[in-house]
Symmetry: C2
Subunit: 199 residues, 2 copies
DNA sequence: GCTATCTTGAAACGGTCGTTCCAAGTACCA
DNA sequence: TGGTACTTGGAACGACCGTTTCAAGATAGC
């Protein structure tokens, strides 16, 4: 017998993701959320709970919508190093041009912010890092099997290295690093992993 | 004929650096500053100006006290790659243990936060990045001259690469990455730059 | 169409934000 | 020692924070 929602929670959450992504959680007030989504405080709190829960929901949505597809594409690609190169190309493209240019990565931003004080946020960040690392590792294992890696290049530790590199790209892109420079840097990194005989 | 300050502005600024470094500017209120430094609002505003100016002063102080010495040590070291390795070792040490463990880097944190909206902050971040890059480049040029680098490894682009890596270390350390894992990752990166014949 | 149950709008909550103001205090110079 | 330029303590400012509350509105089953 109840009334039903007069709005689409998913669309609202997408709007919230953009807010937190661009401005960070500390600089985004509930009033900003109310204004951007068009719905009022009652509906907000009834649907998502308080600000911290809303932020966590936004983080998870960001992961589902942005990280996970990229990770899956990387892990499922059978080409080895070219898959890694394509992953970074797409990353730099999103970070430096289009609607989300200079927004950085919402997850990387969360790592630097004080929002990582929350235990649930920290757990999320830990899981997210592992997923990135695992996807990179899967691609690197394939690269190794195809003889694309220089001798002594272990997929595991190299995946960690490339993950750190991705974080660096995310950070620098938010400050306005240009795509060309980032591409050159990532290209040099991948080349340094390459087996010379395979070139 | 005036009265003189009843406190040490330098010591107060050091305390403020710690606050902004650990909690970020958005999560740190003026009340926190007042409590931590022990001085009152009047003295604060008379000495440093408003919050944004205080934050900028803290950023510059952090750079002078932490970044610059490390950069100078790196750029002045004549050993080449060992200097780079030592730079990263010291970085990881500070980031993962002691008083500042899990605080990350105040400058890297600023890159991710919304505080980079301010034009002066952005200019500061740009300069800081160039100083890091230049110091790394100087060490890499020496490494190249001594035949420590693999063929085709350009000091310039490699400096960019290692700078991104340092940002990654800063970010991950704030979330609680352990020193051993970071050291292994950085070690692998440096090994991938090494000329095989020099080993 | 009545009622039960949820949603919605809007006002209001206490608290904290960054900042300002002013009276009282204090050290230097004449 | 008096005057003066500055510092200091502390109250107060309006604005905004995240959150709660509640009456009015809306829907589905009876």
């Amino acid at each position: 017998m109840p009334d039903i929602k007069h709005f689409d929670p998913d669309a609202a959450l997408d709007t919230v993701v953009r807010l937190f992504w661009r401005q960070g959680v500390a600089m985004t007030g509930i009033q900003d959320v109310v204004t951007a989504t068009g719905l009022n405080r009652s509906s907000l709190y009834a649907t998502f709970g308080g600000k911290q829960e809303l932020y966590l929901a936004a983080l998870r949505r960001y992961q589902e919508q942005w990280s996970r597809p990229a990770f899956r594409g990387l892990a499922d690609d059978r080409r080895g190093l070219p898959a890694v190169a394509e992953f970074f190309d797409a990353l730099i493209e999103v970070r430096c041009s289009g609607e989300y240019a200079r927004w950085g990565c919402m997850v990387s931003n969360a790592q630097a912010g004080a929002e990582n004080g929350d235990a649930e946020v920290r757990a999320f960040l830990h899981r997210h890092h592992e997923e990135l690392r695992d996807a990179l590792c899967a691609a690197l294992v394939r690269a190794e099997a195809q003889g694309q890696l220089a001798a002594g290049t272990e997929p595991g530790v190299t995946a960690d290295l490339l993950a750190l590199l991705a974080y660096g790209v995310n950070l620098r892109s938010r400050t306005g690093a240009d795509a060309g420079s980032l591409r050159a840097t990532v290209g040099a990194a991948l080349r340094s992993l390459t087996s010379r005989t395979a070139e």
